[in-house]
Amino acid sequence: MEPSRDTHATLVDLLDRILDKGLVINADIIISVAGIPLIGVNLRAALAGMETMLKYGVMQAWDEKSRAWEREYRKKNVPSLVEGEEIVLKMYGSYYYSKGIYNAWRPGYFYLTNKRLILYRQDFDEITFQMPLEEIKALVIREEAHFVKEKKKQVLYLIDKQDRVYRLSAVETNQLKDTIVQNLTASGLSLEKSPVLPEFEEGPIDFLIEGEEVTHRGEKVWYLVPASGIQQETWRPGHLYLTNKRLCWWYDFERKLVFDVPVNRIVSVNTEMRKLSGLDSKREKVLDVAYKFNSTKAIASFSGGRQVDEWVEALNRTIYGKIDEETETCPQCGGLAPAKELLEQGCSSCGWVSHRLKNKINKSALLAE
């Protein structure tokens, strides 16, 4: 039989041949100028398909190791499922965990299987939340304030058969809910039609001192926390409370009062359109509260979008509430007194009485006689 050559060699054939046989380059190069060696290159390279490499015993340990690592990684990637359990949906999301002083949204991947809803955290190979499908009594989606600006966050409230309420949030909360509902219906389970949601108290009121009462509160308000140490002044989210004694700002993240000032120390309340950050060129209405502090005046700034006007009104009502009428100076002694009192009763310090009032008194005295 004659050896014959297939006349149609292709690039792939060439590559395959090279990889199959293996290519070894062993080169020693010296670059010299004017007979003087200046640069030396000592090159050793081997190129081959992995199977050929292994055949010659090259990179065997490496091959083993990289495959073992991948196996390990893949095992960790999925929460351990019980037999007959199948994953229906995987979605990034979080679950509100609250115990003692610890309160946080814990992130992870939601895995919806035909048996359970699981929140799984890959990095720690940990299931942080799980709920058997048949334990789910009701699902409700509610919009809640997000800590970023005025964006709303959709929160899925899951109520179980023991009437415990869980708060979940996902990238596509609606889709998560719909898929859960579909799966429940598929397995012949049904949800309560119009469940009653227990009210959640977002802001805590346990900072009140005795005899103190909240007179005004609103939605999220940002406070410009003054610079301290290396920390520059920054806007932080929280809630503002006006009580009959103090104006307090509660910091949501650290869950404590960061700012409070007695109402009688507040000097004035102003608003100003200001840029809140360097990134955003939009101007927002900022509430500036000036108050007496260690015999000087300090200013606290708050921002809260449309609420600012309500706060101005509420603060003014509290600060000037008792003397909301105009004040007048007494023409005789120059002392300050509310205009109404001055006109109807006369000056309390020097006894001055207006002409009209004098006439009135005289008239009534005449009538009495």
């Binding site: 050559r5 060699a9 690039l11 792939v12 054939d13 590559l15 990889l19 199959d20 398909g49 292994l54």
Partner: protein, 107 residues
């Protein structure tokens, strides 16, 4: 020679070349994958994963070609590359050609 580059021209030329090279690498990988599978060191699960990944790559490339309408130009680039390889190899390892060329030069 003036080089005429318009959007279409560039797409067919450059993208065609890139995809053609990717395809060549993909084919080489496919062949090596076959060899590894035949080698017998891979587990069942690894083989399945490898097969799936290569299939995904196949589908992705086909989709790109269809979307961009460059199936023809990719094919012509590959044919061109193949004929160059064929020619060079032929020159290097075909004794008959050596003889013919020698005759032509009159050696």
């Amino acid at each position: 020679m003036p080089i005429d580059i318009d959007e279409d021209n560039l797409k067919h030329g450059l993208l065609g070349l890139v995809i053609a090279l990717v395809e060549v690498i993909k084919d080489a990988l496919n062949l090596q994958a076959m060899k590894r599978m035949e080698g017998g060191s891979l587990t069942e699960e690894e083989m399945e994963r490898l097969g799936e990944a290569l299939q995904d790559l196949d589908i992705a490339i086909e989709e790109i070609k269809k979307e961009q309408g460059i199936t023809e130009s990719v094919k012509s680039v590959r044919d061109g590359l193949d004929s160059i390889v064929d020619d060079v190899l032929d020159k290097m390892i075909n004794p008959e050609r050596w003889r013919k060329e020698a005759e032509e030069k009159g050696i």
